[in-house]
Symmetry: D2
């Protein structure tokens, strides 16, 4: 099962109808950078940090809690004020609070913030405790600052990197995935919708309607039990469409709805969250013009989740546990 990582489109898997942006990544949205730090130490640690860093803040934003069994930091202020005032971090469950504290450090140190005494760090997490020793809370301030400071435009590393280093989806090794779509609204304006997902949930993989059941595919392989467990999914959507916070809430909902397209089962143990933000103010988007955005985000989520799987490599971790990559031969078209 040795194979090179590949994006969905490289395997001929092309979800949906909208064109992608140039990079097919959340960084296609102007003003959005991504930085990641991967923590792989010995056999115990398979974790990391992924930072989504807008060029300017605050920005309009909203949240959908599909299943609130998670430790998302920053939820109530994000919803009340309809904005993010910090970059968004993703990491492993029990490290979320250290990451939030580090994000506060980062914000306090920003030029112009010398008098700031209120910061609402936004940190999402999923539980990478199958492959990583989460109880050790390995994420340090240095990791977080490294992720933030290294954030760049351009291609985004996918698979078992950053906050996806230790995650699992649909019984296979997953991780970070990204995708984008270009939409043209009824009023003629065109925008980009970009998605970045930390995939870590249960169900049976569906690839453009084809079932790839990990229980069957992996049958007999060592350490291949527990393939269907779900441990949360964080989906970040960015757009340069001037949507307001209420509209971004509608987008965030559809991001979580889109998980079903790859076979997510929305299990009790999977805290599934969508956060959406807009990088641009301007002439508001009429409600009747939102459908292209709604459809595009579902497509981009589907592809981002597939990328998070197909780009991930078989990983051995904590206690010798193994998560296997999806065999590309089963999905190539």
């Amino acid at each position: 099962m040795t194979q090179l990582p590949a994006r969905a489109r490289d395997l001929g898997v092309v979800p949906g109808e909208f064109p992608t942006g140039p990079l097919n990544a959340i960084t296609d949205v102007p003003g959005v950078r991504v930085g990641q730090v991967t923590v792989r130490e010995g056999s115990d640690l398979r974790t990391g940090v992924t930072a989504i860093v807008p060029d300017r803040l605050p920005l309009p934003a909203n949240l959908f809690v599909g299943n609130g069994y998670g430790k998302l930091v920053g939820a109530t202020q994000l919803v009340e004020l309809g904005e993010i005032e910090t970059p968004i971090l993703l990491t492993g469950t029990l490290s979320a609070f250290r990451a939030a504290d580090a994000l506060v450090s980062y914000m306090l140190a920003q030029p112009g913030n010398e008098e700031v005494i209120s910061i609402n760090p936004v940190v999402g997490e999923t539980n990478d405790g199958y492959l990583s020793d989460v109880r050790s809370r390995p994420i340090t301030e240095a990791h977080v600052l490294d992720a933030l400071h290294s954030a760049t435009t351009g291609p985004v590393a996918e698979g078992a990197v950053g906050a996806g280093t230790g995650t699992t989806a649909l019984g296979f090794k997953a991780g970070i995935g990204t995708s984008s779509r270009q939409v043209v609204l009824g009023d003629g304006r065109s925008f980009t919708v970009g998605v970045l997902a930390q995939a870590n949930f249960g169900g049976v993989l569906q690839v453009l309607g084809q079932t790839v059941d990990a229980r069957q595919v992996l049958a007999g392989l060592p350490e291949s039990e527990d393939t269907e467990q779900g441990n949360s999914c964080m989906i970040i959507t960015a757009t340069d469409g001037p949507l307001d916070a209420r509209q971004l809430g509608r987008v965030a909902r559809r991001a979580v709805f889109g998980m079903a397209r790859v076979g997510a089962n929305y299990s009790h143990g999977s805290g599934d969250y969508g956060i959406a933000f807009s990088t641009r103010s301007g002439e508001p988007v009429g409600e009747g013009n939102l459908d292209p955005v709604f459809f595009a985000v579902q497509e981009a989520v589907e592809e981002a989740l597939l990328n998070s799987l197909f780009m991930a490599e078989t990983t051995t971790g904590y206690c010798g546990r193994i998560r296997y990559a999806v065999p590309h031969d089963l999905v190539r078209r």
Copy 2:
């Protein structure tokens, strides 16, 4: 394209893994009856009423608003008190308020209710205005009382009947569909989960992963435009598992998530709602035991929506518009 209505299983389409109840219908849940009145008059009216009637009331219940672009009556009290205190009615958009008023009449006339001065009628609706003249608000008190009084256990009529007489889903004629699942919890207890859906939404039909695109299937047929529009979906879930209102909210969410399995696109114009209720009190279900219920409801929604399509017959209505049935040959296995 003349064909007899058929349920999904009759066509070899078997979604999911859980066994169904004996009828594969919401009426498999003990204490749940369904009554329907179909209003087909001349070429203008293709509408009706579907009533889900529990044997006793109030019952624990909750609501998920996937997309609130709808006129659901009774939402705030249902959520506040975590219960339904009336049967649930489904009908066409602009008739929802007359139906609610008629449901009040029904409740006031119930034995023992002589002193009641507060009633919270629950009425869902979807817009059947493509095939029916909704502006005429054709639903009368007599229709509603007829639906309520005729409610029975046993098989449930599906397709273009009751509140589904004029509805459309995924570009094809749809209507009312139902399905059920039997689940065994981790604690050994077994329950039934039953779903009834009023299907009326956009997207591209997926049948167990196979795409059946109405734009292609119906290309060239008269009056086959506008096939992807969405005009709301109401999904009612009943269970005899003793779930409390909070847990039923989690179930209702997954009912709406389940729409994606058949290709729903969650468009702006489609008010998508899930209502879930329990018929039984008893030893509470531990949160960690809910997964079978969560998975079963998604399966049952998938099958109920397919039933609503495969049981519907091609229908001509208002202004000569036509909605075509899904050709069974395309989906038979």
Copy 3:
């Protein structure tokens, strides 16, 4: 206890610090009209309709459900789209659905609406069943159309009129009350905030901190029992400040919070709702500039509720029950 109705300020009761608008009424907000129909028939009916009619629609709006034990029609779409697309009606509990249906009739008949097939009528209600025979559902389409068509700018009738004809608050006869405030934001712009309340809730009356306990004041009077029961409160806030839907939600919350200022006890049986809308778009109001609006709405709610009491006259109704007016001598300053 014969006394002429008087507004709070006529009795020397001046809540808060902001100046009122010219009329001290919701109609101080440009573009907002109010129409009311009072239904007093025989000894059984003490009810009516109050219509808040904006000059143009739709308008940004939001809702806060302080206690959802009520039958508010139109909640989910109002929240989803962040707007009202019809006037707002207030009436008695069981008549809410007939009123909603009549409001649909009104909207369908508006010029330009000939093709409209979706309308989200917004109808609030409180239970006037102590003084009126609510089971008879006396509100007709004619009543509703009369209230809508008679809506005017100018002073608003208060006390036992319209939807307040049969209501009670804090043990005394209450009804409709209104008030307004003029606010100047930090950015120098000035706006009006207007409130109209249908008062019908429990607690012990507080007038600028002075307790006026109905149990003591009315002790020994015939039919003066049950003075503390609560049967819901609807508070409508209008502003010409260009607040968006999210911000209006924050305003609506504070309207309900303001009920405490007159002694509301937020009982189980009192469905307490705030709806806020804005008549104007324009340069958005920065979040840090909202405090004057937040404070003003609480003041205006306090005064509107006092007006609803002090303007109400002792009323005898259904089954010979009596609700007594607040004796002005006890509150005059």
Copy 4:
């Protein structure tokens, strides 16, 4: 203005009608302990930690976000599962994340938790940045563990202690306050309702209806500006009544509503939250029996907030700023 701290009742200020528990404190609820650590260092730090520690966990719980402008940690899981699984911590704004991380440490170390890999720490905060250097994030794991391990039944320290060391309410020095009520339900069962508040909000103090305006009272005193600013209020309610999560949500709402009784103005900058939990399962409380609980919590909040003020001593802190105690002579009865 030298005066000894005094509780409201010691000054003759007795809000409401329900009897208090023996201690008039949240610790009157069996199974609830409180531990506090006060951090007063040099002139810069006036902060601390207050821990509400139930004897067993998890417990049914819910949350009301009156104004989400705060950094409450743990919100989404608390609401989703309707429970708290850790003690509740209160502290200063920017220290919330270090406190959450320390609470994770505490939980991981509990006997029986050796395999636990998911913990949802609940940490509320208010901004004590006027009197304390919040940017230094002074709260350490040792502080948190000290607060948790020192938690006891018995009287609760009030005023400028623990998380209230640096807080302000209504223009005066405030801090931690507590109170309790004993309620008898319609079904004859009696329960205790206990409240603990971290008071830190704006408005004009009302003491049983009497206005005590800090702007006037403190006029001319040094460093007495900015008296009305609000920086959040956390209100924790505990009860041994077997309320479920949904009902506890209704209680939490009324806790926030109760803030108005002392003159809170619910300003933009004040993140006002209520968390309610129950220590006991048992025969559920019928919805119609909840009113005594609803009324009692409002009374207890009123008294807890007054205690937080009257027990606080004039405090000089960061940058030489001063918050003055309420002069008892002005409120004594």
